[in-house]
């Protein structure tokens, strides 16, 4: 289990994280959501140890990562797999070499065993065999993400971190990657922590969701609870995204017949256009046109 307690991070005068606390549920897909600049990437980097928090604790199985010895940190890192936003594949190595790299570095298995494992994980992410000898620059963004995911799970990690895995992908490929992450989480029983601002991901795979807003944890709950949340800032974020907009809007219309007044003008315009409804700026809505 990963627990973060009162994490604070500042760069000079600028405070990016303000005493964030959360518990990442083991064996589940934990999603950190929020708009750009909300601090979710910094939070993830603090959890994995790529950044040192200014204050607070990151607890892995009851031990504070920040105060651990170098050897203990190394041991934890061997249990971590991470899928980076830009895949972070090694340019000079082929797909196969990228995936075998962690095994070469840390495993004492024979080459044939390592190759078998590489094939196993590349098959798991549904990568065609003809791509094995290609370089990252020769394959598509979606394939790069699959390879990066295969590399992240090749050592059977306990913890899987995904930093905006859908960034730069088309919606269909994003869904495929989301499903893969969900399946791998269940199959390998990993504690997955994923940064995203894609609401499709929230509904598809989010077991436990942490919503960040301007460096603070604004809301925490499940993907079922998010629909019925009354948190104003979360709702603003949700309304700005396409996927939950309809569900949320329908519920509001059914229950109150109004659109919240705090919704941004652009979003209000989009809603009017989408539902073909004249609200005359007074927030009163009629029946949505089908």
């Amino acid at each position: 289990m990963i627990e973060i307690k009162n994490i604070k991070k500042s760069f000079g005068e600028k405070v990016v994280l303000k005493e964030v606390s959360a518990v990442m549920e083991p064996g589940k897909c934990n999603l950190i959501i929020g708009s750009s600049g909300s601090g979710k990437t910094v939070l993830m980097k603090c959890i994995v140890g790529l950044m040192q928090p200014t204050e607070g604790e990151v607890i892995y199985n009851g031990k504070n990562y920040i105060t651990m010895s170098l050897e203990e940190k190394k041991a934890i890192r061997k249990e971590i797999g991470m899928l980076f936003q830009g895949s972070a594949l090694f340019d000079s190595q082929t797909v196969e070499q990228n995936v075998i790299f962690p095994l070469d570095m840390f495993s004492t298995d024979k080459y044939a065993v390592k190759r078998k494992r590489v094939k196993e994980v590349l098959d798991r992410v549904h990568l065609a065999e003809d791509a094995y000898k290609k370089f990252p620059s020769e394959i598509s963004g979606g394939m790069q993400k699959r390879v990066a995911l295969a590399r992240a799970i090749v050592l059977n990690p306990k913890y899987l971190f995904c930093d905006e895995p859908n960034s730069g992908l088309d919606p269909q490929t994003s869904i495929v990657i989301d499903k893969l992450i969900k399946e791998i989480t269940e199959e390998y029983e990993t504690t997955t922590i994923m940064n995203t601002h894609d609401m499709n991901s929230v509904m598809e795979i989010g077991d436990h969701i942490v919503y960040m807003h301007q460096g603070t944890k604004e809301w925490e709950g499940t993907n079922k609870e998010i629909i019925y949340s009354d948190n104003q800032k979360l709702n603003e974020f949700i309304f700005a995204s396409q996927f939950l907009q309809d569900a949320k809007h329908m519920r509001m219309i059914q229950e109150t017949g109004e659109i919240p007044k705090n919704v941004h003008d652009d979003v209000r315009d989009a809603l009017e256009e989408k539902f073909n409804t004249d609200m005359d700026g007074d927030g009163i809505v009629g029946s949505p046109a089908e």
């Binding site: 790529l50 061997k78 797999g81 991470m82 980076f84 830009g86 972070a88 340019d91 570095m105 971190f161």
Partner: protein
């Protein structure tokens, strides 16, 4: 202040670099890869430059030694000593600072920007030891070898040019090479090349490893790495000459 801060960070870079490797064979492979990149990869340009430097030295020395009382063997002696003492180690390393330095800075910069270094860190790999140390060691091993080759080719280039231009007969040139030869000059040149090799691999590694931003910053850090390496190299050249000659 910025220079002092950078210097402090440069020194700090070496802290933590000398730890037990996670897997010795992987580090050895990385070292050999770097030896190939830095050594074999720079052999062509060093060879071309050395031959021409030797050739030009012979022609220009002959042009300046107009007195009939100065024996022609002096041309060979001057070419030999200037090539060994200065042209091969200093000019050769300045060229290598451009070729090798920019490559190291841009390679590490690209790895930093595209999060490849973070990916290695997450795996629990000591990135300074895995990425920087093999480059420095490979440079310290291969660059002095390149400089020895540059010395030989520079002197041979001078011989060919002297003969081709009718300035000096090859046998006279050969005799000149053997006259008043001081082995300490080679020792001095090799000492310089070790120091220069360290500078032209560690300074670009520092700038590349600490890049922040995007493609523009990679270019900037690469340029800065070459400029700083060259300046430090010339400063070291002066200090070593003052101390050792």
């Amino acid at each position: 202040m910025k220079i002092l801060r950078e210097f402090g960070e440069y020194i700090k870079m070496f802290k933590g670099m000398f730890r037990m490797p996670e897997n010795r064979s992987m580090y050895w492979r990385q070292f050999m890869l770097q030896c190939n990149d830095i050594g074999i990869g720079s052999l062509g340009i060093i060879s071309i430059i050395s031959v021409f430097i030797g050739a030009v030295s012979t022609v220009q020395t002959a042009y300046q030694l107009v007195s009939p009382i100065i024996p022609k063997t002096t041309i060979a002696q001057i070419v030999r000593d200037t090539v060994i003492l200065e042209f091969a180690p200093t000019l050769g390393c300045i060229v290598l600072a451009g070729v090798v330095g920019s490559k190291i800075a841009s390679e590490l910069g690209n790895m930093r920007v595209s999060e490849q270094i973070d990916a290695l860190e997450i795996m629990g790999i000591n990135t300074k030891a895995y990425l920087i140390l093999p480059k420095i060691l490979a440079g310290v091993v291969t660059i002095p070898l390149l400089i020895i080759i540059a010395m030989v080719l520079g002197i041979v280039g001078g011989r060919i040019a002297g003969s081709a231009a009718g300035i000096i007969d090859p046998s006279i040139y050969d005799n000149g090479l053997l006259m008043n030869f001081n082995g300490y000059n080679v020792f001095f040149a090799l000492t310089k090349s070790f120091v220069f090799a360290f500078l032209i691999t560690s300074v670009p590694s520092f700038y590349g490893y600490h890049v922040k931003g995007g493609a523009l910053e990679i270019g900037r850090s690469s340029t800065r790495a070459v400029v700083v390496s060259c300046v430090l190299l010339l400063l070291a050249d002066y200090i070593l000459s003052a101390l050792m000659l």
